[in-house]
Symmetry: C2
Subunit: 398 residues, 2 copies
């Protein structure tokens, strides 16, 4: 049986960043990935500028306490008109350009103004409180590389270089298909032998949070023709199709057969993990198909371990994850499992860093236990008995 | 001058969760906060059910290898019609109800079927592979408390208890107002003495990411009447107004005066921090007003340290943050600052946990340096010289 790491390698190997790249408006592109390199067309700052409210001076004049004649006053957004000569100074606001002749600024709190004369209370060194032209970036310089994630600060930088649109990786389209005759849609009350569909809304939210354009296809019933029609639609309009249920070895689980009929090539359908062993992965062209087990925790874990990384690689992220972090246990943890296990945990923060604590859960159907968790803890197969402080591999999930 | 911690306490003390609470559709409420307690109206599972494909048996019959007569076959979603008597078994699929009489399930891999007779390869203990009715939650039990954040798993649990709507905290409305005559909107080219407005898009993205309904008001010019009109509009339609620029001590900084005229009570306008000392905070009724300094890094840091926590408290989060984590330095760090400083950093992950590294930056105007960072490192006033591995207080920001 495949190990999780082998299975993930197969998934990522079959995943390509989605094409074609497209033009996106920067204000709305938060979280997307740049598909071009961005060059600055200007020097920033465009002029030597003051970082303080004060007086622009010639440092040569200001070697000791002197009085200088104030010849002009320059606000941010205005341009100096006079060159500073010996014995002269210009009042400058924060952000204002430094006039020709000046090479430093003294903050106004360190001066005293009488009529048109400013008395300096200390000497001033060349360059003080001045940012030289082009310090941040020079015209022609690449300031953002292809593959950069569009964070708030990156969006600010794009605005600074005049960009309101960028070439970005397209957002993957992900279809969610819960399967099974036992499911009813909330708020309907489940009849005998039925349960409410909770995986549909949960997977939709996981997909949305992971940056997908998520589309809900409705419940596929245990009927070959209906299932085939629904999956045909899902495959035609999606980059990733995520099913839940219908992939274990039960007699009524048609999903793998129907996918084969629709031209989906199967790559694996079992992983040595808990929860979620019977996990199906297939492809049709560049479209990925995941069949997650129907139990809520299996479905949740399968999404975080395989679907989310594929989605992120398809979105253009250089590091698709999952990024497990080694964290010390906040409490002892005992477990005994026949396969590597991904157990719900809770993160805790202290001044000495993060820690993680195993959360109570009784198995892969325990949605309530999962709802109280914000991390998954990776445990090896076999029996383990860890003390507090033992470092466990942890995946934050909220 | 106020310390950051004192200033944050003043802000949070003036911040109330936004009212009135409102009905929200669960699929769209991801990230919002529950404003009611949610009770389960059903037992989950609603029936004792099988967690494996296999045979439901009476454990009393299965103390040693025996052959049992298969009397029925039950798929998930179906209801058993026959009670199991001595020497009998029922074929059950994963998720199917356990028939009356049975108290355990044996997986089909551990059996052999010949005609209507199933041979068990091992004894079966009572309760094996069966989840009892109500194990996850019982009817009448509170399963989610007021204040719970609507994560994907919580949305799944809400669906399981039949909820498609919840009473949720409303989303705060946040207005972004960049100020200053020196600003031009991208893509326009800045003229002499001008710079492009980068804080507007950056703050909009920060606000969106923090869960606000963000509204961009356009640039307020250095003109008292225009500024007053624009702020009047912003105050009337927002829970939080965020200005950038116009709050330092320059002669042309009208903002504090105009806010006073509009009935905004000032609580502080200076904080002992770097970048971002001249940070204004005021209130009018329950509306919060933040005046952030105009330099990009000052604006960014001011948002993360004060606006984001206020926004989260207003959104109903029990822990508004900022949540600093103690992380070891990945490289030595030297700094000398006259005030407590929040410097850009980069997070790194290894099997031994997260680490952080100081990022290159040359001051509060360095948007390019900030764009390469994903954390802020808190440094004390004075000179510090830390070795690798020293634990520094770190705020992840992306």
């Amino acid at each position: 049986m495949l190990e999780v790491e082998e299975a993930l390698a197969i998934v990522l190997d079959r995943t390509r960043p989605r094409t074609p790249v497209e033009t996106a408006l920067t204000p709305r592109a938060l979280g997307r990935v740049l598909a071009e390199s961005v060059t600055s067309e200007l020097d920033s700052p465009p002029f030597a500028k003051s970082v303080m409210d004060g007086y622009a001076v010639r440092s040569a004049d200001a070697t000791s306490s002197v009085a200088l004649t104030v010849i002009e006053e320059v606000a941010a957004g205005k341009t100096p008109t006079k060159t500073i000569g010996p014995g002269q100074a210009t009042r400058v606001m924060t952000g204002a350009p430094i006039p020709f002749g000046a090479d430093a600024v003294i903050p106004h709190e360190q001066t005293e103004l009488t009529e048109n004369t400013v008395q300096l209370r200390r000497p001033v060194a060349a360059g003080e409180f001045v940012i030289p032209r082009g310090r941040e970036m020079a015209a022609g310089e690449v300031v953002l590389n292809k593959g950069t994630v569009l964070t708030p600060a990156v969006l600010g930088l794009l605005s600074a270089v005049g960009r309101t649109t960028v070439i970005a990786q397209p957002v993957p389209r992900l279809a969610v298909v819960p399967t099974g005759d036992e499911l009813v849609e909330p708020p309907a009350a489940p009849g005998p032998g039925q349960i409410r569909n909770s995986n549909g809304p949960m997977l939709m939210a996981q997909a949305t949070r992971a940056g997908a354009e998520a589309r809900y296809m409705g419940i596929a019933r245990d009927d070959r023709d209906a299932l085939r029609n629904l999956l045909d639609d899902a495959l035609a309009a999606s980059d990733i199709v995520v099913l839940s249920g219908g992939v274990s070895a039960g007699k009524y689980d048609y999903v793998p057969d129907v996918l084969r009929e629709l031209g989906v090539e199967a790559h694996f359908h079992k992983i040595r993990m808990k929860p979620g062993k019977p996990l199906f992965f297939g492809t049709r062209g560049e479209t990925l198909v995941f069949g997650l087990p129907g139990n809520p925790l299996s479905s949740f874990v399968g999404f975080e371990l395989f679907v989310r990384p594929a989605l992120r690689k398809m979105s253009g992220y250089a590091i698709p994850g999952p990024v497990f972090v080694g964290l010390p246990l906040a409490a002892p943890l005992e477990a005994s499992n026949d396969r590597p296990t991904y157990a719900p945990g809770r993160l805790e923060v202290s001044s000495e860093g993060q820690r993680v604590r195993g959360a109570a859960w009784f198995g892969s159907a325990d949605l309530r236990g999962l709802a109280g968790a914000d991390a998954l803890i990776r445990l090896p197969a076999g029996s383990v008995k860890y003390a507090s402080g033992y470092i466990v591999s942890t995946l934050p999930v909220n």
